[in-house]
């Protein structure tokens, strides 16, 4: 029991650090590309509450949403939001990383307007069946 508790504590700290690093790397790249003019819109990643019905075996207890906000200064169309989401979902390495770090929801929305898009991450990558060997 003590062993499990210790493992959980160590894992929690390690995951937390990895999550922060991932968000920071994403934001640094987004800023770099926006400043250099390659990307017309500034993207900003953050951690959100997420959707509780999208849970999977790696899901965090709280804050399981990976939110991307596009600072376009206008209301983005659904196609534009979908495009950003699809790029992320098509990168299997990133989706795997997001899943193992406890995220289960991908959210994309603009800086103005009330609507955004939301995807269930586990739909985009085959997850191992953990019941037998966990």
């Amino acid at each position: 029991m003590l062993d499990n508790l210790w493992n959980d504590v160590v894992e929690w700290f390690s995951d937390r650090s990895e999550r922060a690093r991932l968000v920071r790397s994403f934001n640094e790249s987004a800023k770099k590309y926006f400043v250099s003019g390659i990307a017309p819109t500034l993207l900003k990643a953050s951690i959100s509450r997420g959707e509780s019905s999208y849970k999977h075996q790696f899901s965090n207890w709280l804050n399981s949403g990976f939110r991307i906000q596009a600072f376009a200064g206008r209301v983005l169309t659904k196609q534009e939001l979908m495009r950003i989401g699809k790029v992320i979902l098509d990168d299997s390495v990133l989706v795997r990383r997001l899943i193992v770090l406890g995220w289960d929801t991908l959210e994309v929305h603009g800086d103005s307007g009330q609507y955004g898009c939301r995807w269930q991450l586990k739909d985009y990558i085959p997850l191992p069946k953990l019941n037998q060997n966990e």
């Binding site: 991932l22 790249s29 770099k32 590309y33 699809k86 790029v87 098509d90 191992p128 953990l130």
Partner: protein, 148 residues
């Protein structure tokens, strides 16, 4: 009267000092020190255990593999805004129907078209494929665009 008070005060002070010295010399066990030592040993034990612990479970393996892979965030940001344009350009240029008489090129175009479609959201790969299209299908971008 004052002498008595002074004497008594001195007496009490000397008794207190004597008592405290006695209690220090008698009480050998410093409990706080031992608690600290036990805590330290426990922490060292758990840290070593964590270090030598094999990652055997499927969940841990999956997690370890996923964390080892590199993520190209620059490509993701670039793809978010520029891959559509590239994809639209390439899918027109290398459509298999453009080579109805040349079987070899038709087959090559078909394979490339398939790969372009699979990587339509990956700007880095599309740029690589653009070069392949230029080299293998001998397509001059301006001519191709003009032709179409």
């Amino acid at each position: 009267m004052n002498d008595t008070i002074i004497k008594d005060t001195l007496k009490v002070a000397s008794e207190t000092i004597t008592k405290s010295i006695d209690s220090e010399s008698n009480d050998h066990i410093n409990w706080w020190l031992w608690i600290a030592i036990i805590e330290f040993v426990l922490i060292v034990f758990l840290v070593i255990k964590q270090k030598i612990k094999p990652n055997n479970t499927l969940k841990q393996k999956f997690k370890k593999e996923s964390l080892e892979q590199e993520i190209d965030f620059n490509n993701i940001i670039n793809s978010s805004f520029n891959s559509k344009q590239l994809y639209d350009e390439l899918k027109v240029k290398c459509h298999p129907d453009l080579f109805p008489n040349d079987i070899e090129k038709n087959l090559l175009a078909e394979n490339l078209f398939q790969e372009i479609t699979e990587n339509q959201n990956n700007a880095k790969r599309l740029i690589e494929l653009k070069e392949v299209v230029k080299q293998k299908l001998n397509i001059n971008p301006k001519l191709a665009t003009g032709f179409l």
